[in-house]
Amino acid sequence: MDLYLALALQIVYGIANLVLISLGLAIIFGMMRVINLAHGEFLMLGGYTVVVSTNAGLNIWLAMLVLAPLVVGIIGVIVERVMIRFLYGRMVDTLLATWGLSLVLIGLVTTIFGAQTATSISPPLGAIHIGDFTSSGYELFLIGVTAVLSILAYCALKYTRIGLIARGTMQGAEIASALGVSTSRTYAITFGVGAAVSGLAGGLLAPITGVLPSIGATYIAKAFITVISGGTAILAGTLSASTLLGSVNSVLSYITGPTMGEVGLLVVAIVLLRLMPQGITARLFRRSL
């Protein structure tokens, strides 16, 4: 019984982890139909923000939950204004430009902090016990944060004026613009929010994974495949794809060890895309957010 509970917790954590690292990317993708290849570096910058500010004496909770999203969100807005907005409608060029940005950010952080792991910080919560098994309290906290984040995103999209404008721009940018919405500003804000969510995720994961200039590469494979499998509906896509892929990943990792977990995730995603090339939400849950 305890074993099943512990296993179930692992699966839920696997799903939450995928949602957490993918949500920022999904927000930008859902809005602009563009995959931000610098996503991993936004996560990395969130992580560095937390490590640097905690070492400077800031409270770790404040650093993770407030400072990391703020810093990365501002960077996101700057990137959008300086680079992305010149490339609207040119999807391939946007991909390439964000890839260039990703390399620039890795290079800059390596130059400033060095290529090695910056001083690491330990997870602020201890272990919890389920019968004979122990589980990390911090993982439970991350599951909670992911749930809160998803609900917040849902409410923001569904019930606020900004959310309404965002949904309108998503469905038809030209009509929204004809009705007096500044689509350019909407895009800038969306990009900033997406970056902020990525920064938050990177900050929250920093105590578990440590930070490296190239840490982004370990997240992005999973994040990209989750978002593409999910399709353009921000929340329904991320949640459904994460549930499917996260379960596959966790179960396979439990049975065969972590090596095959990611491979299984990739294989399932590629077969899924053969069946539903536009992602899950193009076929199922079509009217969802």
Partner: protein, 353 residues
């Protein structure tokens, strides 16, 4: 460019290639020759992406996956066979077959080009994570230990039929350079063939090509597999040039590097990506000696500048400049401009060869 002038260019390229093949080992030091073998492997990889992206419109961000698979397949089968001749064949076939399987899911699923780029990149990164974890003694194929993070030593090429007659580094250079020249002219032949013309038609307008009656998915799949095999051959040369193969071939940096060679050298040409690869190999080599500047930073700036400011790449720019100087632009350029005004899509000029 018209066909006659193009042919004279091809002859010039062939002469330069052969002179380089014969002359370089006489003039340069052994160390430079060994380095050049690696650069040639990179150039062949760039050529493979230049073929499928520039002429098939297939945006593959993970071309280095097939490169790495070719290199690993070569090393694993060379260790198991005890000779390298069949290992080369196996490497190329495995890389092409993997590209075909991956291509089946993507092209027959009609995945859009943005998705295709991201999926191929993801495949590369997952191979990176996978191969890094294969350090335990249980991870072996036949007699070959995969070696995880440290990778495996590559057995040097031997003369076909005699596994004990191992080639010297100079001889490996001859093989590599010959492979590059042959690969280049095979690609030229391919894009001049009927198949190549259909591929270009698909690149220009997929729907139109399909309505005319061509099987778009099959053509893309075949071209992608050919590109994969070419990249696999490049992987074999790389394993020989470096003498070692590690999971790093699958990492993000190498994937980006491949794309940048093609963008800098020029999409829609075959010689452009090759020159781009040689140029950047030289640039990074000279930057590597002064450690204050980070390679990622340099590559990132190059990529952003080329995308934002939109130069067409070095070779197409030179051809345009040449045409303008010779006053050949006249009627054709005007026609091109008019066509551009009608359709909002960006029209790129393409040259064979």
């Amino acid at each position: 460019m018209n066909r006659t002038r193009e042919n004279s260019w091809l002859i010039l390229i062939a002469i330069v290639g052969v002179v380089f093949l014969i002359g370089a080992p006489q003039v340069l030091e052994l160390f430079t020759i060994i380095n050049l073998t690696t650069a040639i492997a990179m150039a062949l990889l760039a050529l493979s992406l230049g073929l499928i992206w520039g002429f098939g419109g297939i945006l593959c961000f993970g071309q280095s996956t097939f490169f790495g698979i070719g290199a690993y397949a070569y090393v694993i089968s060379a260790i198991n066979f005890g000779g390298t001749s069949w290992a080369i064949v196996v490497a190329i076939l495995v890389a092409a077959a993997f590209a075909a399987v991956l291509g089946y899911f993507m092209f027959y699923g009609r995945v859009s080009d943005v998705y295709l780029g991201v999926i191929t990149l993801t495949v590369s990164l997952i191979f990176y994570n996978l191969m890094r974890r294969t350090s335990g003694p249980e991870y072996k194929i036949g007699d070959a230990q995969l070696g995880g993070f440290n990778g495996m030593n590559a057995p040097p090429l031997n003369v076909p039929g005699d596994a004990s007659w191992i080639l010297f580094p100079e001889d490996v250079f001859y093989v590599a350079m010959a492979a590059l020249i042959i690969g280049y002219f095979l690609c030229v032949w391919l894009i001049r063939s009927h198949f190549g013309r259909v591929a270009v038609a698909i690149r220009e307008n997929e729907l139109r090509a399909e309505l005319v009656g061509y099987d778009v998915r099959l053509h893309k799949l075949i071209l992608f597999a050919i590109g994969g095999g070419l990249a696999g051959a490049a992987g074999v040369l790389f394993a020989n040039g470096v003498g070692r193969i590690t999971p790093d071939v699958f990492n993000l940096y190498n994937a980006a590097l491949t794309i940048i060679w093609v963008i800098v050298g020029g999409r829609g040409t075959l010689i452009g990506p090759i020159l781009g690869a040689f140029g950047l190999f030289y640039l990074i080599g000279s930057l590597g000696q002064q450690s204050s500047i980070n390679n990622n930073l340099v590559l990132g700036v190059i990529l952003v500048v080329f995308v934002l400011l939109g130069p067409k790449g070095i070779v197409p720019s030179i051809i345009d400049l040449w045409d303008r100087k010779r006053g050949r632009s006249g009627a054709f350029a005007r026609q091109g401009r008019r066509r551009r005004n009608r359709s909002p899509r960006k029209v790129e000029t393409h040259h064979e060869g």
